[in-house]
């Protein structure tokens, strides 16, 4: 049990899987990243809220975290872009935030015991009661949360400038920045709800398909095999990020497993094997694709392209024959370094190859 001050939400109990993120900046992007749905995020950076919040930094239409844990929530903010304080923002969106506790102790606890179910609630409810509710809350393993965060209806987004390609986006919890990086490269997008049958999304004959990031256990997402099969059949250029990467790996026969405490932060070194270069990456995942050396067991068609240098876990794959590439981390960053944005160019390259410029 950790004691702290409650900020933001009302008196109800916020429940979720407690994880930690080591990014120094970017709290607003983290709050609004749909991949954090169902999670209580501990920020290891001790001072949060210093630069306020601005709608320009939202990654989704609302914050998705189940709760927030910080060492000190800044009483004031200062930045020319800021529109309001983080405390106001949290209150406005009813996000529970607990502050003032020993976040490093909590982080070290999660590091050794693993990400676990937790709750943030008012002390007068009693520890036993909060604990009871935590235990009733379903664990993350086995949970499909894409339905919660995905768009209810398909929608379109115009390319910035001349339209070069039409891309179908599977929204498992897509971040605004991914969409922007695609439209900024001349892609006209149609964004589909996560459960859209492949036939429907592919009917319009897109030039490529983007499988977004998203929350929850990849194994629990329904219809993966059917989706990947459909994509492979049409030999469409496919680009997957995070959950998208996991679904591609699963679809081609690979398997996923839950990491003890996951990767969440903006400083993970990833080795790009072909380029022999290291990228500093933005990461947010609790599950990983099983790899053995440079191969993915069960998915002979996939080749490992990227490896995490901290723990050697799989960070990216491509298909041996098909124009399919995917990474576990977040090349769209937001928050985090921009080192990996070349992947969006590679996706464009795959589509160009298939459909050369007139």
């Amino acid at each position: 049990m950790f004691e702290g001050g409650l900020v933001g939400a009302d008196e109800s109990v916020a429940l979720g899987e407690v994880v930690f993120n080591t990014s120094l900046v970017g709290y607003q992007e983290i709050l609004t990243d749909p991949s954090y749905a169902g999670q209580i995020v501990t920020l290891t950076a001790p001072l949060i809220g210093n630069y306020g919040v601005t709608t320009a930094d939202d990654e989704a239409r609302r914050p998705w975290v189940a709760g927030l844990v910080v060492r000190e929530l800044s009483a004031s903010y200062s930045n020319w872009r800021a529109e309001s304080s983080l405390a106001d923002y949290l209150a406005r969106h009813g996000i529970a935030c607990i502050e003032g506790l020993d976040t490093r102790k909590l982080t070290r606890h999660i590091r050794s015991e693993g990400a676990m179910r937790a709750g943030i609630g008012p002390a007068d409810l009693g520890v036993e009661e909060i604990l009871r509710r935590v235990r009733e809350h379903p664990p993350m393993a086995g949970l499909d949360l894409t339905g919660v965060v995905t768009t209810p209806e398909p929608y379109g987004l115009a390319a910035q400038g001349e339209t070069r390609f039409r891309v179908a986006v599977y929204d498992f919890g897509v971040k605004r920045r991914s969409l922007e990086l695609l439209t900024g490269r001349g892609c006209e997008l149609t964004v589909y709800p996560a459960a859209t049958p492949p036939a429907r999304a592919l009917d319009s004959e897109p030039d490529g398909v983007f499988l977004s990031n998203g929350p929850g256990d990849p194994d629990a997402v329904a219809g993966v095999a059917r989706l990947i099969e459909a994509l492979a059949e049409r030999e469409l250029p496919v680009f997957g990020i995070c959950l998208g990467h996991q679904l591609i790996s699963l679809g081609f026969g690979g398997s996923t497993y839950k990491l003890l405490y996951g990767h969440r932060g903006g400083n993970h070194p990833v080795h790009h094997l072909a380029a022999r270069q290291v990228e500093i990456t933005s990461q947010n995942h609790g599950f990983a694709v099983l790899a053995e050396g440079e191969s993915v067991p069960g998915a002979d068609a996939l080749v490992v392209t990227h490896i995490n240098l901290n723990d050697g876990t799989l960070e990216g794959v491509r298909h041996r024959e098909l124009p399919v590439l995917a990474v576990q981390y977040h090349p769209e960053s937001a928050p985090g370094p921009h080192d990996s944005r070349y992947l969006f160019d590679e996706f464009i390259g795959l589509m160009e190859k298939r459909k050369p410029r007139a």
Binding site: F2, L47, S76, T107, P269, L309
Partner: protein
């Protein structure tokens, strides 16, 4: 790709003497570099003129040359050692500039030496401001719009565009030397002239003023495979306009969103790629407009810098060590993160704490210096504090400063805070001008009802910081108002970072009461690790800071352990020498099998490298902070005698709280420092002392002075560096002095000694084990008595003292060490006058000269002392006698006068030098010449000497002038002196004094007609003349001397330079030579 096999030996350049803007952070980088190269098996050759450094310890490099850092002397080393490569990026601006000169002059090519780390092209691109601006334009980055000028006319043309205020920065200088801010044309012209003069290539940059913009720095590393990481972001508390070395800085950046930070990161990466720093680190500065976010790139240093030292300590990422390994061919992903030992160094550290760096100034030493901070750095040192919050780190930082305040608290008087009043107008006017006092003025402004908005507008400090400070002021007021603080209240203020001593003052209690209450509540700090990864991975290296949280991560081991207290922020009188001693102690004690625990607050030092000791506590050196560590660690003892005055001041309080002190007892220290007790001791041993007395009031002082006779030397007791020490010639001056001295040290009385005019002085350092004593050496001062020993040039072995006097000093030193029961180091200062040897003072602790003497003689005195302190005996070691010194070594001091315009350069009993160099050779003349060259006083081999001396000095100066004349120098002198010299057969031309009309001496100096100035103080009335002369000499970089003995030594040096070739020898070879001699050949 692993390390390069095509090179076997690497030459490394240090940064020379400590000066403002280039301090012991380059001992940190050089030491890391040497250790990293050795680890990889390269033969390592080091050149540095600064003997006080750890890197020049002969144990570290394979060949250590204490030689001047000039191209011609380094070429001699290259010729002898034939290194394969030169690493230019570890020795600050000096190392970089010398490397570039060696490259440009073709010397590197001639000897086949490659530059590694950064090549000449990259250095030039980054350092030449014009080339840099063009390079940045190529990658779409903006620099403050302005232009370069090589003349005043060109500068004025640029100013037409930029307008005023504008910033003038000379190219290729360090610490912003010669730079300035101009608010009008007149100031502009003056600043441009100074800047052109200061730049070695005669070029200045005229910048658009970005005063008031926010300032940031990023520390960037790149390997030859083009992997780039950002090690740290730093945000300056003070806005643009204050040199970053003079700014309070915070890591990580506090008020940047991810969007802005990533834009800056992208720019930094583009910058290091465009400049082409191949393998190593660099520092890039940015300015951000607070209202629009417009971002400009200010400059890039293609080398390790003060900020990289700070970033290393702030993050746990050893930039210099990694930079060195990258330079010899490794990639970032091939190197391990030394802290986690499991993850690679190719990552970006994340912090779960806040770091605040606060500069330490020395304006109390230079009352005439302009206190306004600007683009030219003025700080002499700094502290760093780590806390879980900004507020906590801020409070810890202020109590680390050792400036007489118990933390961030206002002075007793308005004047203490640089204020004439505390009405809103006066406060706002003060806040507009950045000075060392401004943090305290801000506190007064917050207390006196100024709004955040008013404070921010006046100071340009970001509102977020001001709000943080307001919270602290609010908490303090609240705490003061409590009838009795309960556990929650104490917990609250401790978490905010308030120290016990400050809390005591807030409620008018004693510190021990505050401590007792806190302990009664069971409130102790918890220690957290600096682990580079915010807890994501287990850390293998215990690098700790205190905070108040639930979980304590510092686990006490079962090993026998010793705590070494460091020396805190560098200041005049306490610098890198003491860090050398502390590190030596840590190394020696580790070899003796002890777990070593270091405590220090100075990020520039080697002692705060996490691999120097077994455990590092980055903490303020206050009673409270040390006590908590001792309680947790329960060491065998605490070492207080290595870190100078800082730990010594804590000794008696620690002893009183039953903390075991290692080595010489606290009582013995007191016996040496306490005037009355010491007098009794000296009398008992039959050792002469100058007539002296002690006064606690002005009346008593006059009485004592009258009794012992003027002139007298007066000083407060318990000070280092001669703080407030003066020679007083009459009662009137004594009265005026006495008031000031009382302020300097209120708890202690004033000491009054008969001043021995024209005496010779000498220092003796020795090590004792409680039974026997090893004399380290006798160092004769070259300047006469009355000049602080830290400022005087010194020579070992003595060259003008009679053997019997030297012998007597050794005997006295042994007797004193034995009588005091010294276990460890002892320093004794002597004066010799009229055949009598007087003892001036005894310091049973490490002295400033310990590293110099250790390098000169080859005896590692500090290490021996540390071993003695844990019970080893001198007889157990093979030691060299002090009669077998392998040559002659001269120590010369280096002064900050160039950086502090308006300050008189005359030396006196108050120490004002910031650093030192050593010249070592087989003869006194050559050693002196090397010392002068290394100190930046290149000696003329011919030309014109100007002599202007006091009447009483005329007889003694004559033989010296005659020697210069015989060497073919032209002799000029002021009319009286000239007449006197002509009367003795020396042709001397008369020149006018300043008040006699024009052209006068100053005009001749400025027009470059004079090559050497001999000027002894002419007495009160001519003070202005003297002052103008010496300032002109400094500006024109003309060597000058204010004492006759130094003039004579310079003459010896000139002769040596003219007659001998540039002879260099490594310390290791010198030692070998002595061994061979001793072996009986």
């Amino acid at each position: 790709m692993p390390k390069r096999e095509d090179i076997q030996s690497v030459l490394l350049l240090g940064s020379g003497p400590i000066v403002i803007g280039q301090a012991c952070e380059f001992d940190y980088s050089g030491t890391q570099a040497v250790r990293a190269l050795k680890e990889e098996g390269y033969r390592t050759i080091l050149v540095n003129s600064n003997p006080a450094t750890i890197m020049t310890d002969p144990d570290l490099a394979d060949a250590t040359y204490i030689e001047p850092l000039t191209p011609e002397w380094v070429e001699r080393v290259i010729d002898l050692e034939r290194p394969d490569a030169l690493l230019p990026t570890m020795g600050g601006q000096v190392g970089l500039n010398v490397s570039l000169e060696l490259y440009d002059s073709g010397i590197l090519e001639k000897y086949g030496v490659q530059l590694i780390g950064a090549d000449a092209r990259a250095i030039r691109l980054a350092e030449g401001r014009e080339e840099f601006a063009e390079a940045m334009a190529r990658i779409g980055l903006e620099v403050p719009h302005g232009g370069f000028a090589r003349s005043l006319d060109q500068a004025l043309a640029v100013a037409e565009r930029t307008g005023f205020p504008s910033i003038i920065r000379p190219s290729f200088t360090l610490g912003g030397t010669g730079g300035g801010i101009a608010y009008n044309r007149e100031e502009f012209e003056r600043a441009v002239r100074t800047g052109l003069e200061a730049s070695p290539i005669g070029e200045v940059l005229v910048d658009k003023s970005v005063i008031g913009w926010k300032e940031y720095e990023l520390e960037v590393m790149r390997d030859h495979a083009d992997n780039v990481v950002i090690v740290c972001s730093i945000e300056n508390f003070d806005a643009m306009g204050v040199h970053t070395g003079d700014s309070i800085t915070v890591a990580p950046a506090m008020t940047l969103s991810d969007t802005e930070y990533q834009r800056m990161r992208d720019a930094a990466i583009a910058c290091i790629r465009e400049i082409g720093v191949d393998a190593g680190g660099c520092n890039i500065q940015f300015a951000v407009h607070p209202g629009t976010g417009e971002m400009l790139i200010i400059e890039m240093n293609p080398r390790v810098s003060r900020s990289s030292a700070l970033a290393s300590k702030a993050t746990g990422f050893p930039i210099a060590r990694i930079g060195t390994k990258l330079a010899v061919g490794y990639r970032l992903d091939e190197l391990p993160n030394a802290i986690t030992q499991k993850t690679p160094a190719c990552f970006e550290p994340v912090l779960d704490y806040v770091v605040v760096k606060i500069p330490r100034f020395a304006f109390e030493k230079f009352p005439k210096a302009d206190p306004v901070l600007g683009v030219q750095m003025k700080a002499v040192g700094e502290v760093m504090a780590i806390g879980r919050t900004f507020k906590q780190a801020w409070m810890k930082g202020f109590r680390s400063l050792e400036n007489g305040r118990a933390g961030w608290e206002i002075g007793a008087t308005l004047a203490d805070d640089g204020l004439a009043g505390d009405d809103h107008e006066t406060l706002l006017a003060a806040l507009r001008q950045p000075t060392a006092d401004r943090p305290f003025q801000i506190k007064r402004a917050l207390l006196n009802g100024l709004s955040d908005k008013q404070i921010c507008e006046a100071s340009h400090i970001d509102p977020w910081f001001i709000d943080q400070l307001r919270q602290l002021v609010g908490a303090e007021t609240w705490y003061r108002s409590l009838s009795e603080p309960d556990r929650e209240a104490v917990w609250e203020v401790k978490r905010l970072g308030f120290g016990d001593a400050q809390l005591a003052r807030v409620r008018d209690e004693s510190e021990s009461d505050v401590r007792a209450r806190r302990w009664a509540f069971g409130i102790h700090p918890s220690y957290k690790m600096v682990d580079t990864c915010a807890g994501e991975f287990p850390a293998a290296t215990p690098y700790l800071y205190s905070t108040y949280e639930d979980e304590n991560e510092s686990v006490r081991s079962e090993r026998r352990k010793v705590v070494v207290l460091g020396s805190g922020p560098n200041r005049i009188g306490q610098g890198v020498e003491f860090d050398y001693c502390c590190v030596s102690a840590a190394f020696a004690l580790a070899e003796e099998g002890y777990e070593t625990i270091m405590v220090n607050s100075n990020p520039e030092t080697v002692s705060t490298d996490f691999d120097v000791s077994d455990k590092l506590y980055f903490e303020p050196l206050t009673l409270e902070d040390v006590l908590e560590i001792v309680h947790l660690e329960r060491p065998l003892g605490v070492v207080v005698q290595m870190g100078g005055q800082t730990p010594l001041k804590l000794a008696s309080a620690l002893r009183d709280l039953d903390v075991p002190i290692l080595g010489t007892s606290v009582d013995a220290i007191d016996r040496a420092e306490d005037r009355k007790r010491f007098e009794a001791l000296a009398r008992g041993l039959g050792i002469e002392q100058p007539a002296n007395g002690l006064a606690t009031s002005e009346a008593e002082a006059i009485e004592v002075a009258t009794r012992i006779g003027y002139p007298v030397l007066v000083r407060p007791s318990y000070v280092l560096g001669g703080r407030a020490m003066e020679i007083v010639y009459d009662e009137e001056s004594l009265k005026s002095y006495f008031h000031r001295a009382i302020q300097a040290s209120p708890e202690h009385p004033v000491l009054i000694d008969r001043f021995l005019e024209d005496a010779f002085e000498a220092d003796v350092d020795a090590v004792a084990d409680g039974q026997s004593v090893l004399i380290g050496g006798v160092m004769q001062h070259i300047e006469d008595a009355g000049i602080h020993s830290g400022d005087s040039a010194q020579v070992v072995p003595p060259y003008l003292l009679r053997d019997e006097h030297v012998a007597k000093m050794k005997v006295h030193t042994r007797e004193l060490a034995e009588a005091l029961g010294v276990v460890g180091l002892i320093n004794v200062q002597y004066a010799i006058k009229d055949e009598v040897v007087y003892v001036l003072e005894v310091n049973p602790r490490a002295s400033r000269t310990v590293p110099f003497l250790s390098k000169a003689t080859g005896n590692p005195l500090a290490r021996l002392a540390a071993r003695c302190m844990v019970g080893r005996k001198l007889a157990e070691f093979e030691l060299r006698g002090d009669g077998e010194i392998p040559g002659v070594a001269v120590k010369e001091s280096v002064f900050p006068f160039e950086k502090l315009p308006g300050v008189d350069t005359l030396l006196g009993p108050e120490m004002r030098s910031t650093g030192e160099v050593m010249g070592i050779a087989d003869s006194f003349g050559l050693a002196m010449a090397k010392a002068q060259i290394a100190a930046g006083n290149p000696l003329p081999l011919s030309g014109c000497v100007v002599v202007t001396v006091h009447d009483k000095d005329k007889p003694n100066v004559t033989p010296i002038v005659r020697r210069f004349h015989e060497l073919g120098f032209e002799i000029w002198a002021t009319s009286g002196t000239a007449r006197y010299l002509r009367g003795r057969g020396i042709p001397a031309r008369s020149v006018q004094k300043v008040h006699e009309g024009r052209p006068n001496i100053v005009d001749h100096i400025i027009s470059g007609e004079i090559d050497l100035l001999v000027n002894t103080p002419l007495g009160k009335h001519a003070q202005f003349d003297d002052y103008a002369l010496r300032r002109a000499a400094i500006q024109r970089r003309i060597p000058y001397t204010t004492t006759l003995s130094a003039a004579s030594a310079m003459c010896d040096a000139v002769i040596a330079l003219r007659h001998r070739k540039l002879q260099v020898l490594s310390l290791q070879q010198r030692a070998r030579r002595v061994q061979e001699v001793a072996a009986g050949t």
